[in-house]
Symmetry: C2
Subunit: 133 residues, 2 copies
DNA sequence: TCATAACTGCAACTGTTTAACATAAAAATC
DNA sequence: GATTTTTATGTTAAACAGTTGCAGTTATGA
């Protein structure tokens, strides 16, 4: 169940958290804080904000910076540790404004200059998705 | 000269534009609108904003979304067209908060799902830079 | 010269993110 | 079970990035 998913990541399964989790699970695209706020009208924005922070911290979800000004969130895969080698590419469609996880497209590993240490990576294509072209 | 750089990209070389260009040329890291605003105290934020938009449109500079909430800008290479194959990786240091162009590290070409068409790509590592580790 | 276009400055406004503080609920301790 | 402590939520509002409208100024071109 969904509650189990939260407990697996050491997150106490409160009602709101379950709702947020389900909202993300039901979505085929990544959602911003305001997107979630519109779906869950009852819940307070600050609570949702903190819920997402908690989820991200516990690596239940990952955040995507798609250049729209609003960070989007999507569910991580089962054993994701959000390390560069775990992470996948995202695609932002400039027509429908949706951001998709390309879950099968892992981000290629590249070298970074000596002395630099990469903890995570964000890779987003911008263009037109299949439905919009 | 710097004015020539603007004219090469079909940008009329006004005083402010020359100042913004020089600010970016003098910087070893990518700069946000507010960064530039602090350096050029005289200039108005809206003017700087539109200047950066113009520069980006004319492909004199490129923008980087480094996850900090503020878009950063840096000078493009000479004949850059800002196509995915032109673009390079960026690195954001979470300690010093600076964002570096890894100009020699081109972004690896990957496939996108059929029907999708990528116009540009943003790839940013987050971690610790050489000076901070 | 005069009309037009381009650029700049000022002000205001939107939207996202975040903090401060108070309250409520849950968990732990006695 | 009552009390303390922790954790989660709600309310409010501030901070900040990005953006637009409008007026004034400067440059351009007929």
């Amino acid at each position: 169940m969904d509650e189990q998913k939260l407990e697996n990541r050491n997150i106490k399964p409160t009602p709101i958290r379950i709702l947020v989790l389900r909202t993300l699970l039901n979505s085929s695209v990544a959602l911003s804080l305001s997107d979630i706020e519109m779906v869950l009208e009852r819940a307070d924005k600050a609570t949702l904000y903190r819920t997402l922070k908690t989820f991200e911290e516990k690596k239940l979800i990952h955040s995507i910076d798609d250049g729209t000004g609003a960070v989007k969130y999507a569910i991580c895969e089962e054993n994701c540790e959000c390390k560069p080698q775990d992470q996948h590419i995202h695609f932002h469609c400039v027509k429908c404004k949706e951001t998709y996880c390309l879950s099968h497209a892992k981000i290629p590993q590249t070298k970074v200059p000596s002395g630099f240490k990469a903890d995570s990576v964000n890779m987003v294509y911008r263009g037109t998705c299949a439905s919009c072209s």
